[in-house]
């Protein structure tokens, strides 16, 4: 009996330890992500999550954050080669999607497509605009209650000139839907939890 207990406790301890090691890493990484100010901070965060992802192999979240932080770095430092950043982000997203495919990853696909479109919107909107649109359709199929889908949809619409069917009036109901969904949205620990304030701010801007 004692032997069984020893073995059992050893197993539990190992699992708990591994689990807490991952959780510690996520807590640490998310803390750094929150505090990141410069593009270099964000790429460091990305590199950290990449290492966690590579070591874990079965967790999609580290790759998600590796991509998200890298994606954000391209908006902070406008001089970077956005296509290169996008390639790296897509690589992370693909790795994450092998583990689990979900609405948040599709949302990220959309964000990366928009990033690439912005390099040369006039000649790229046809290709990348379509990719972005397709990604949000996929996201809705995966989970139509994810509030970030409607926030991102709203952002694209908001930034599209009225002559192309965009503008405040069209974007407003999307932000409204996002804000409504955020009210009841409870993410699991370490799961994506951004966008609420952004959606509220944009809804205000549409008024």
């Amino acid at each position: 009996m004692k032997k069984v207990l020893v073995i059992a406790s050893l197993l539990v301890a190992t699992v708990v330890n591994a689990q807490s090691k991952f959780e510690d890493a996520m807590t640490k990484g998310l803390g750094q992500f929150k505090d990141a100010k410069t593009a270099a901070d964000l790429t460091d965060v990305s590199s950290f999550f990449e290492r966690v992802g590579d070591a874990e192999k079965t967790q999609w979240l580290p790759y998600y954050y590796a991509a998200l932080s890298l994606y954000r770095s391209a908006w902070v430092d406008k001089s970077v080669d956005k296509d290169k950043v996008a390639d790296k982000c897509k690589d992370f997203i693909t790795k994450a999607q092998v583990i689990e495919n979900n609405a948040d990853l599709y949302c990220l696909v959309q964000q990366v497509a928009i990033l690439q479109m912005m390099v040369d919107p006039m000649s790229r909107w046809q290709t990348y605009g379509a990719q972005a649109k397709g990604a949000l359709t996929d996201a809705k199929k995966a989970d139509s209650t994810n509030p970030r889908i409607y926030y991102l949809q709203g952002m694209t619409t908001f930034n599209t000139p009225a002559a192309y069917g965009g503008g405040k009036d069209f974007a407003k109901p999307m932000f409204q839907k996002s804000v409504d969904l955020f009210k009841t949205y409870v993410p699991k620990p370490y799961y994506p939890n951004w966008g609420k304030e952004d959606a509220e701010k944009m809804l205000e801007a549409c008024k």
């Binding site: 406790s9 790429t43 590579d54 070591a55």
Partner: protein, 740 residues
Amino acid sequence: MHPTTKWLFIIFMVFDATKPFAQTKVSGIVKDNHSRIIKGVTISIKGSYDGGASDSTGKFSFKCYDKGLQTIIVKSIGYKTVQQSIMLSGTPITINFSLHEEINELTAVTVTAGSFEAGDKKRAATVLNSLDVVTVGGANADITNALKTLPGAQQVGEQEGLFVRGGTGYETKQFIDGTMVANPYSASVPDIASRGRFSPFLFKGTVFSTGGYSAQYGQALSSAVILETIDLPESSQASASVSTVFVGAGLQELAKNKKSSWGINYGYTNLAFYFALVPQGPTYFHLPEFHSADANFRIKTKGGIIKYYTTFGASNIGIRRPNIDSFNLNNVYGIINYNWYNNLSWREYLGKGWHMNLGSSFSINTDKINLQIQNKLNQRVYTSISYIDSINTAITSYQNLSQVKAVFEKKLSGISAIRFGGEYWYGTAKSIVKDTNHLLTDNFASLFSEADIYLTNDLAAKVGVRGEYTSQVNQLNVAPRLSLAYKTGVHSQVSFAYGQFYQKPENSYYYYGNQNLGYVKATHYLLNYMRTTTLQTFRFEGFYKKYNNLIETPPTYQFDNRGSGYAQGLELFWRDKKSIQGLDYWVSYSYLDTKRQFDKYPSVITPTFAAKHTASLVVKRFFNQLNTGFNFTYNYASGRPYYYFQSTGNKYMIADEGTTKDYNTFGCSVNYLTKIKKSFVVLVGSVTNVFNSSNVYGYNYNHNGTYKQEINPPAPRFFFIGAFISWGVDKRQDAINNNL
């Protein structure tokens, strides 16, 4: 020990076993195989979270808590990952890495000598996409006019076609989804260039190759315009257009499952209204009138797409100009044209690295040309002066051409590939000139093979060979092609191309009796430097082209293949979308030195379609706040030579010659985008030759060469105002209604 304490102790030990005992500092620098610093490289210890990333100076430094023999992994996208054993003992380690670039389609060198490629495959600053074509000021949304702003093309306006690097219009061929287009231009009257038959919006990619092109293409001595049609449309839409010269309507339907689509369009052009407002040089007894209808379907297959496109055109133009020998008489030229073009293609991935491209096309073209000498009362007359009366002719010509082409490609290791295939054409051309029948039948077959060999990411070669046989010439030709490209920097490269090109003689030579003519031949040598970033392109190219076996047409009508010639030159191109936010401009300049003996030319002289200096400036700017785009184009060409050839019995001599004045034209267009209720509207206004420069393309001579007359554009300027309306382009509104 109390049992509980003991358990706690064990648990503590287990926890502690995974805790670090000591840490090792690892630092170093990461470079590529050219000793260039790489930033953002991830360095990690296998199976652990420890690691770091290289900074903007390539340096990295991190602490790791694992001990003993571990594996360090160094990786960056676009480079081969490096794994290396490392002994961690607590003593700081300095370790440097050199990463090798992966052979990758996005970063690899591309063979660019001779071609302007558009499309976002490489993400390089694209040269001309469909939007670019329609926003070249003064080009009136005509592909050929837009291509004339690129180096290599001449500003020839008295006939349609692209005259590239000392070549005639016949030496440039257009290919749609792999197959050659027999009649890419609308029917035209003498001295006035007509428009292309195809809308720029039909194509997603355009390659304008001014020499040295792939063994997949033949029967074009100077240039190939390679057009790739769009796949499935983004959404269903209906469209309509109204303008000063035409009206049109169309429908494009995308299936709900987004696996197939179909569409139809109809357009009617009539210049009656426009010509009533803007006086024209010649008088028209039948104002230009064009009907065009097209239809398409596209079906997505397992690993590819099947596409069909058909267009039918009917036109009628009748023009009357004073006869150059007698001012009491008029020359009358009437042309009725019917053209039906079909293209069916199938592109498929067959698995295991094999790709298949099948193409087929079928076209019928009928021209009914009526040439008359009329008096001032518009009555047909005979003067008993033979060279005037000989104008009274009726010509009816029927041409049809069927083609099939198959290309197979196998991807080899990395991005190297081999490609091979063949094509077969069957064409007939029947002409009835003054009740005399001429019938030409041609069976044409070709086989080709080429390999794309990537020796490294920085060095690539394309080696190909093409063999052709045409029954019209009854000879076999074998044409080798070779190009090399070497990457000299991250954004720059040098390429070289060599190739032999053959083309069968134009059909018209055969109308003067049985001619024993061989292929005309050109040999190209090109050297090109190119620097491309996402928003900028700089290109510099030098070329030498040798012409052999050109057709000579002496007054005896005993045509021969003894003509020859050369062309050499330098070309510059610069496009910049970066320096000024929102402004897109390009500059091109071509220097051309060319001489040839062919046609009536009695000696080796500069042809009438070759200007020494040609330059273009294209500027575009779109103002988001105004929803308006402004586009300007300036084209310049130095004067071109003109000649009067007089028969001396068995030869021609140059009885008169000269050079036209320089050619200048400044065109502009404005497009305004707006939404009216649920429809998306683009209003376009355009003017060619804003400053009313009087341009001379060349001269027509009277019978004995004592008097010459300028060949001018039919009107100095062309104005265009139109509205293009579409519904359902943007389904956002529907999307909102469906989703909220």
